[in-house]
């Protein structure tokens, strides 16, 4: 402990070098935390899925709709407590550059199915009672600067034409990772304005007991197997994960870049430590002469490396947590609930510790093994 002042005195000798090295480590850990958080946030999106909800889609592909008559038949399956359905509208707003999801939903059953969608009761009533009303996520309202009561026109691509809706409610997700940039409106409105051509895109089921999921999936898919519209039934989690794999091999990409970053910074830190040690050869010899043990000298160099990497890690990881923790950063709404998890922070510190060890070990060993006679011969 009493050696700490010596470590700090050494750090202060080349202030610029120390500061630059610490900042280098800070940048690396910041980048590491950011990249890893992309992966954890995507996974978390699948984790928010309720275990008691299942999604029924067309077996061939999600773009094919399912007949409305399935609703009654799904409701009769043992273990199914509630059924609702939705349609993907796929329209564009304004210049069409900002993408957001629009769904046609059945107000009564949909919101009962998704308690995560928090809507003030009076706004929900207003939405329910007006056929052309829309319910919009808080995040989306902010993106476009919309306000309640405003008319917005969305250009349909699957359902051609201009569709005008009146915003009657704003929802705030009660779970952070739940999407807050969706635009929802009445299924009935869509149905009537497409000459009754629109049919549900997918059904959502609520089970009385999550453990029944495999049986329910089997029963439902068997039931429609020989119809013209066979189904694929899976848990909500599997459904969400299907969308994650849409990103391609993100995990691999993020991890390999993360590795490269950590490695690059290892070079910078290790180099700084070695330069420092080399410059102090004479000094180390003097310390040894006046009675410092090999072990103490080893500790001195390692201590210096540790202070540098750990300070850098605190700055980098802390900075990432502060920046993302507020929830302001969502990558254009694609990563709702983007945040640095505790696991990432722990891993970040572990990496910093390894970095300290790897960058300090060679110079520290060299200091410990230094022969006094050899070293002092060079001192002028």
């Amino acid at each position: 402990m009493k050696l700490f002042p010596l470590v700090f005195a050494n750090l202060r000798r080349h202030k610029l070098r120390t500061v630059l090295t610490i900042l280098g480590v800070a940048l690396a850990t910041f980048l590491f935390a950011s990249l890893r958080s992309v992966v954890t946030t995507l996974n978390q999106g699948a984790e928010v899925a309720s275990a008691s909800r299942m999604v029924v889609t067309h077996k061939t592909a999600i773009v094919f709709p399912l007949p409305m008559s399935y609703k009654e038949r799904l409701a009769t399956v043992k273990g199914v407590e509630a059924v609702t359905w939705a349609n993907w509208f796929g329209g564009t707003y304004g210049d069409g550059k900002t993408f957001f999801a629009q769904y046609a939903v059945d107000p009564d059953t949909w919101f009962a199915m998704y308690p995560e969608v928090g809507v003030p009761p009076d706004q929900f009533e207003a939405f329910k009672n007006e056929r052309t009303a829309a319910l919009v996520g808080k995040g989306l309202m902010e993106v476009f600067g919309w306000h309640v009561g405003q008319d917005v026109t969305i250009r349909g691509s699957i359902y051609p034409g201009d569709w005008t809706f009146t915003i009657r409610g704003v929802y705030t997700p009660t779970v952070r990772a739940f999407d807050d940039r969706s635009f929802m409106f009445h299924y009935d409105y869509l149905y009537e304005h497409t000459d009754h051509r629109a049919i549900p895109g997918w059904f959502v089921l609520r089970l009385s007991d999550p453990s029944l999921a495999p049986q329910v999936a089997q029963t439902v898919d068997d039931m429609f197997q020989n119809s013209s519209d066979p189904t694929k039934t899976g848990t909500e989690k599997a459904f969400n994960q299907g969308f994650i794999t849409m990103w391609g091999n993100v995990r691999f990409l993020m991890n390999s870049i993360g590795m490269a970053v950590v490695f690059a910074i290892l070079m910078v830190t290790a180099n700084a430590m070695m330069m420092t040690a080399r410059e102090r050869t004479g000094e180390v010899a003097v310390l040894k002469t006046i009675g410092f043990t090999d072990r103490t000298l080893f500790g001195l160099v390692m201590g210096e490396a540790s202070v540098i990497t750990l300070t850098g890690a605190v700055l980098g990881l802390g900075g990432a947590k502060l920046l993302y923790g507020g929830g302001g950063v969502t990558m254009n709404g694609m990563l709702p609930g983007f945040d640095v998890t505790a696991g990432t922070l722990v891993l970040g510190f572990v990496i910093a510790a390894v970095l300290a060890l790897a960058s300090g070990i060679v110079p520290a060993l060299r200091a410990a093994r230094l022969s006094i006679v050899q070293a002092l011969r060079h001192v002028e």
Binding site: R17, T21, W247
Partner: protein, 385 residues
């Protein structure tokens, strides 16, 4: 007078470890930079190649992708009579009415299914789209036969010739594999449009593609067809249409690449600064000697900048070499316009490598500037004391 570069190169060789470490930091930055842009570039190239400037794609008005479009048989017949359509070697007009759907088929490695575009075409599509069979034969009209893009073959199960795939309630015999010059079409399943139409979306095509007799006639064709009272269509040049489909994802990938590598670059620059400062301070007396010999401070500045740039150049070349082997490696992502998988190859171009090298030089010059500045400001008397 300039200090010979040899002086710097020898100085670098004096500190092999420190030089190597600094260069290695830069190497990794350049490698990540090149690799990420090669990813974005490869994806874009695959989609851009899918469209030909001499082709015209007709979609329903308002449709943003082929999947959300629909063209009725009547409309297709109207389109087919357009006089601007080129004629093929067999005397038939080069027009391909296509059924485009997405099917879910099992992957080869690991578990799971993936979405793939299935496209129903006619006999003219081979000529219009410029694809050719590399194994097996074309599908026969009236049969449940399909041909597969060659990038699907290694990635999915039951894709060999003679195997059969099951989708849309029918079993389809694989009779051939085709090549489309690396474009996104190589990630598609093709069959006859008359076979796909009844089992998927009923009596409607998703898009109609035709070859123009005369490239310059596009504007006229667009005006005429979009103005035709019988049709509600939008007409686009095929190359422009497919390039636009890659826009969003390419933009995201490029922004990500630039963001990540700039942060990394700052770290590498810090490393270069450290190295160069250490280098300058350990060579104080050397610099003083140079000044005494009559070299101008300006020359000293230039010399140290060159030294830093040389270290960075070493890193830049190594980074390029490190990233080079990924060229041609096939990876896949989801095309957000069709919700289906597109396989494409990383594309490391000479321009990209040059960009990486220049990036490395910039890191070296920025990192070397302040240390070089300090070296050039040294006072002879103090330094030699």
């Amino acid at each position: 007078m300039k200090i010979p570069l040899v002086y710097n190169l020898r100085s670098i060789a004096q500190r092999p470890v420190s030089t190597a470490m600094t260069a290695l930091g830069i190497t990794l930055v350049v490698a990540v930079f090149v690799a990420m842009l090669a990813l974005a570039g490869g994806f874009q190239a695959a989609l851009v190649k899918t469209g030909s400037p001499s082709n015209v794609i007709v979609l329903r008005r308002g449709a943003t992708s082929e999947l959300t479009s629909g063209i009725s048989r009547e409309d297709e017949r109207v389109l087919a009579t357009d006089p601007r359509i080129a004629t093929g070697a067999d005397g038939q007009p080069l027009i391909s009415p296509e059924v485009v759907v997405v099917v879910n088929i099992p992957r080869k490695v690991g578990e799971g299914m993936n979405n793939i575009v299935a496209r129903g075409v006619n006999e003219e599509a081979y000529a219009v789209r410029g694809i050719h069979i590399v194994a097996g034969r074309k599908f026969e009209s009236g049969k449940s036969e399909i041909i597969l893009g060659k990038k699907i073959v290694p990635r999915f199960a039951h894709t060999a010739i003679g195997d059969s795939l099951r989708f849309a309630g029918r079993t389809w015999l694989v009779v051939g594999h085709f090549d489309a010059g690396g474009s996104a079409l190589e990630s598609e399943i093709w069959g006859e449009n008359e076979q796909f139409m009844p089992v998927f979306r009923g009596q409607v095509f998703q898009s109609v593609i035709f070859r123009l007799k005369d490239l310059a006639a596009f504007d006229e064709a667009k005006r005429t067809l979009e103005g035709d009272q019988r049709l509600t269509v939008q007409v686009e040049r095929e190359s422009v249409f497919y390039a636009a489909q890659s826009g969003m994802l390419t933009r995201i990938m490029t922004v990500l690449a630039v963001m990540i590598t700039s942060i990394m670059a700052v770290g590498a620059v810090f490393g270069a600064i450290n190295t160069m400062y250490a280098s300058v301070s350990s060579r104080t007396s050397e610099i003083a000697v140079l000044l005494t010999l009559g070299f101008k401070p300006r020359s000293i500045l230039a010399s140290f900048l060159a030294e830093s740039a040389a270290i960075a150049a070493l890193g830049g070349v190594a980074g390029g070499l490190l990233a080079l082997p990924i060229n041609g490696i096939v990876t896949s992502t989801t095309n957000w316009a069709s919700f289906s998988e597109v396989a494409f190859a990383f594309r490391v171009t000479p321009g990209l490598l040059l960009g990486g090298f220049v990036f490395a030089l910039v890191m070296g010059l920025v990192g070397g500037f302040f240390p070089a500045w300090r070296a050039s400001r040294l006072r002879v008397v103090q330094a030699l004391r």
